[in-house]
Every structure is written in structure tokens, then in C-alpha cells.
């Protein structure tokens, strides 16, 4: 297929302008959900249509793209979105976090610290942190406008009352820049501290038609109680492959007899560590 059959990065230029305007507004008002006219994409909702549109609006021909799904570069979602942009934008792709200029992610922030010239694009299923507490959109918008976020703590209260601790382990609500409460997409709460980053972070929700952003070096605070402070917990193990004890781990079932191993969820980070270890051993 010839790339000229598509406009660069699939979307037409007017659509990309529209999305860029939403992104700019999102950056100007950190954590605020900007409505945008989400387009039909050649993949089902829930597969990252929001993230793909934001990526398409950000990409230039010189960009290098990386796509991860739950930290891995080689899962279906990551592979198909990477192929999509290889085909429609003809951009270079990579699995190495530090080489990428645009990183689209589903449910993780890479372990490698991001730099100022990088863009991290999140795929967001439900952008509204108050959704399961208050079903009316008119009401949640008003609550955001008036900064009425007591309800969010009611949810955390319920967690402690039922489980003895804040049991919310992913999509852990944060306050951005002392103003808006934001759903950081379903990243594990282990990743929440990394939301204060040098890279610009963009969030796209295709089905819900919302874009929001966290500009570089923006203050991001995870909600908690004074006597139950935020705890970015992880499995109490080291990675079975690279031995790292500071990374977020996946639990992998290895047989039918209860065998299991814990490995880094960030495949690129794990592979690089193992390569280094082999280098020093040799």
C-alpha cells in the first residue's frame, strides 16, 4: 500500500487541527476534560481510539513512535496500533523508551524516566473520576466547576471501612495543579508518583469524547486521608528475569500446579536490564 492513499497519520488535517485545539486547551487548564468531536476510527471503542486520535494529531514525519499495552510492546493492542501508524504515517517505531518521541500507552507509565522532548499519550476508557459516584454528567460537570470533590473521599472512606485500607489499586484519583480531580486512566497506583513528569502527558478518551492533559512538571497529588496516606504499593517480589525490586510486576501463572513468577510489566525496561547484566557478566 502506498502511504499517499491516506492523509498523514490517517486523520484529515481539519480533524487534527480540531484535536490540537482541544489538546492546547487541555494543557492550558491542567486536568480539565475538554470535549472534542471524536472520530470513528478503524478499530473498536475500547481499543484506544482516543489515544490514537491524540497520537495522530501530535505525530510529525520525524517522530519515533512507541506503543505499549500494560507495559508490554508485544501485546495485540500495542502491535496493531504500532502497525497502524507505521502504515498511515510511515513514522519510525521503536521499543526503546528513551528513543521514542511519542509514546502511546495503555494502563502503564514506562519505568524509564521520561524527558522533556517526549509526549506520553494515554488511552482512557472512562475519563470522569466521579462517574461511578454520580451518574449524571450535568452534575459531575457542575461538581468540577465548583470544585466539590468531597464525594471522591467518600469512595476512599468506603474502601477503608470495608477493607481496612484504601483498596483502589488502579485509576487512583489525583488532584492536578491544586484544582481539578482527574482520573489518570487505569494505571496502577504504583505509577501515580510518575505523573509528575518532565514529559507532556495527554489523555484521550474516544468513546467519551474527552481530552485532558498534564503539562510537564505539574503538581499531581494522589488523594488520601491524613491517617491513611497514599501508598504506591506493588507485589512484594523482585522480577524473576532481571531481579529489579523497584518496578511494577506482572504475576504470570506458569503451570496448573500453582507455579507462578513475577516479572517486570515494562518489557523494554526488563530487556535492557538483562542485556546490561549479560554485558557485565561477559
Amino acid at each position: 500500500m502506498n502511504t499517499s492513499d491516506y492523509n498523514f497519520a490517517y486523520l484529515d488535517e481539519q480533524t487534527k487541527r480540531m484535536i490540537r485545539r482541544a489538546i492546547l486547551k487541555g494543557v492550558a487548564v491542567p486536568g480539565y476534560q475538554v470535549p472534542f468531536a471524536s472520530r470513528e476510527m478503524p478499530m473498536p471503542y475500547g481499543w484506544g481510539t482516543g489515544g490514537v486520535q491524540v497520537s495522530a494529531a501530535c505525530l510529525t514525519p520525524e517522530d519515533t513512535m512507541k506503543v505499549i499495552d500494560q507495559g508490554a510492546d508485544d501485546t495485540t493492542n500495542a502491535v496493531s496500533i504500532r502497525k497502524f501508524f507505521e502504515k498511515t504515517a510511515n513514522v519510525a517505531v521503536t521499543e526503546r523508551t528513551e528513543e521514542a518521541t511519542v509514546i502511546q500507552t495503555r494502563h502503564r507509565i514506562p519505568e524509564t524516566l521520561l524527558a522533556e522532548d517526549q509526549i506520553l499519550v494515554y488511552q482512557v476508557p472512562i475519563p470522569e473520576p466521579l462517574r461511578f459516584l454520580e451518574p449524571r454528567e450535568t452534575e459531575t460537570r457542575k461538581m468540577h466547576a465548583l470544585e466539590e470533590y468531597g464525594l471522591m473521599h467518600v469512595k476512599l472512606y468506603e474502601d477503608i471501612a470495608q477493607h481496612g485500607e484504601i483498596a483502589t489499586a488502579y485509576a487512583y484519583p489525583v488532584t492536578v495543579s491544586d484544582r481539578y480531580v482527574m482520573d489518570p486512566s487505569p494505571i496502577p497506583k504504583f505509577d501515580n508518583p510518575k505523573l509528575e513528569s518532565a514529559a507532556i502527558q495527554l489523555f484521550g478518551a474516544g468513546r467519551e469524547q474527552r481530552i485532558y492533559a498534564v503539562p510537564p512538571y505539574t503538581k499531581v497529588v494522589s488523594l488520601d486521608f491524613e491517617d491513611y496516606p497514599f501508598d504506591p504499593s506493588k507485589a512484594p517480589h523482585a522480577c524473576a528475569l532481571c531481579g529489579a525490586d523497584h518496578t511494577y510486576l506482572d504475576e504470570v501463572i506458569t503451570d496448573d500446579a500453582g507455579g507462578r513468577m513475577f516479572v517486570c510489566s515494562d518489557t523494554d525496561y526488563c530487556a535492557q536490564r538483562r542485556a546490561e547484566q549479560q554485558g557485565t557478566a561477559a
Binding site: 457542575k142 465548583l146 466539590e148 468531597g150 464525594l151 473521599h153 467518600v154 472512606y157 468506603e158 477503608i160 471501612a161 470495608q162 488520601d224 486521608f225 491524613e226 491517617d227 491513611y228
Partner: protein
């Protein structure tokens, strides 16, 4: 003495129909005002207008705020009115399902107002919740149960606790004993009466049940077709009704 709430010529129309018209009254601190009338007489419309849940077409509702003295609730900004709604005001709905979060535990329900005004210490919120559950006679061990697991009377008491936790000065009650059987009603009325007297609350109680206002209200307002047709001390209105409709209303009560 400055009235806590002063209403002047409040009118609400639904298209060509009248919800309530030209209602004026003053409510002083510590006073309980009963509003009675048959269904469709405009009681609930009036209450919702006062509590900022409906926008009236004309009139003034002056509330004596803690900081700035009397202010017109209707011209206040949204944030100010909503702030009043969760601190100085309380609203007890007829159906506890309207006033409670059914999927949140009793403790969470009581604690919501505290967290809404910035309480961020779990232990403190929980002990406050326990205190208020005790005030409305709900056992401590039910604190983590959801309201769905409560009986109707307990749900109503929980709703009251949830409202009183922020130390409001004005309580709106819409048929607080509706849908409860008589013995539960009696206990609830006893409880409300005790709380109102002990906390020195002002309250506006809307009901069609004359026994409720006899027990709770100091003063009475009788409404018919959106208009106030008679006002006075509760005992005076009930024992010596002047307006024909009030006479009908009083004589319609079944005697056991």
C-alpha cells in the same frame, strides 16, 4: 431579632398554572414552622423554592448567613448556595432513597458532608459518624452496612443523622414521616422533636399529617391552591380554625 429566614412574595408558576403564589413569612431562630395542605396545594413547590432546588419566578428569600447577615438566596451565586446547602441547611426528603446514597455505607453517608467541607482524617470522620448514628439510635455495629439493609424507619433516621452532622441551622423536612407505620412514626417524631429542641434548630416541616405538626411545629401555615390561607400558632390554628378550608381539614382527621 433578625429572622433566620424571611420570605417575601414568593411565586412559582408552572406555565399557566400556579405552584405557589405571594407567599410571605418569617422564621426566627429556634422556631419550627409547619406547612400543611392537601396534595397539590403547593407545599413541596414552596419548600423546594426555599431550599434552592427550584427557581421561583418572583420574590425574595433572605437567609441570615453567618458571615454577611441576611442575603437573598435567589441571587446568590451557585457555589455559595451549594455551600449553604451542605453546611447551614439540611434537607430531609420524604423518601430516604432521595436523600441517601444507597450504595454507600451508613458511615460514609453520615461522613459525606464532613468530607465535602474538607475533613480529611478518617478516624475523626468515623468517630463523628458513630456519634451521630448514636444520636438517631442506630447501633454502632451497623455503621458499615448499606442503607439498603436498613428498615424504612432506620433509613429515615440515617437520613436525619447525615443532615445534622454539619451542625445546620435550618432544616427543611418534606413529609419526614411519610410511608412509615404509626409506631415507627411516633418514635421518629419523638427523636426529631428532641433533636430540634436540643440543637436549637429552626425547621420548616411540610406535611399533610396534622398530628405531625401538632407535635413538632410552633407555628402553622395552611396552604390551598398555591396560596397561604391561614397562619398562626399551631394550637390556635388546629383548635380554632378560621378559614373554611382549614375547618374542613381539621375535621377530616379520623378519630380513633
Amino acid at each position: 431579632m433578625t429572622p433566620l429566614l424571611e420570605v417575601r412574595d414568593l411565586t412559582k408558576r408552572y406555565g399557566g398554572r400556579i405552584g405557589c403564589a405571594d407567599v410571605s413569612f418569617a422564621l426566627h431562630p429556634g422556631e419550627v414552622l409547619g406547612i400543611v395542605g392537601e396534595s397539590g396545594s403547593g407545599k413541596s413547590t414552596l419548600l423546594n423554592c426555599l431550599a434552592g432546588q427550584l427557581e421561583p419566578d418572583a420574590g425574595e428569600v433572605l437567609f441570615d448567613t453567618r458571615t454577611d447577615g441576611p442575603r437573598d438566596v435567589l441571587t446568590m451565586s451557585d457555589p455559595e448556595r451549594r455551600m449553604l446547602g451542605r453546611t447551614d441547611w439540611a434537607f430531609v426528603h420524604q423518601n430516604p432513597r432521595d436523600g441517601l446514597r444507597m450504595r454507600v455505607s451508613a458511615g460514609g453517608n453520615v461522613g459525606e458532608r464532613l468530607m465535602a467541607v474538607g475533613a480529611r482524617h478518617y478516624g475523626d470522620i468515623r468517630s463523628d459518624a458513630l456519634h451521630w448514628l448514636g444520636q438517631v439510635e442506630i447501633p454502632d455495629d451497623r455503621i458499615d452496612d448499606r442503607p439498603a439493609a436498613f428498615s424504612g424507619g432506620m433509613q429515615q433516621r440515617l437520613q436525619i443523622a447525615r443532615n445534622l452532622v454539619s451542625g445546620p441551622r435550618l432544616v427543611f423536612m418534606d413529609e419526614p414521616t411519610g410511608g412509615l407505620d404509626v409506631s415507627v412514626q411516633a418514635r421518629l417524631l419523638d427523636l426529631i422533636r428532641g433533636l430540634v429542641r436540643r440543637m436549637g434548630l429552626s425547621a420548616i416541616v411540610v406535611t399533610h399529617d396534622l398530628a405531625v405538626v401538632r407535635l413538632l411545629a410552633d407555628r402553622l401555615m395552611v396552604m390551598k391552591d398555591g396560596h397561604v390561607i391561614e397562619t398562626g400558632l399551631t394550637d390556635q390554628v388546629l383548635d380554632d380554625p378560621q378559614a373554611p378550608y382549614t375547618q374542613l381539614l381539621v375535621s377530616s382527621v379520623l378519630q380513633v
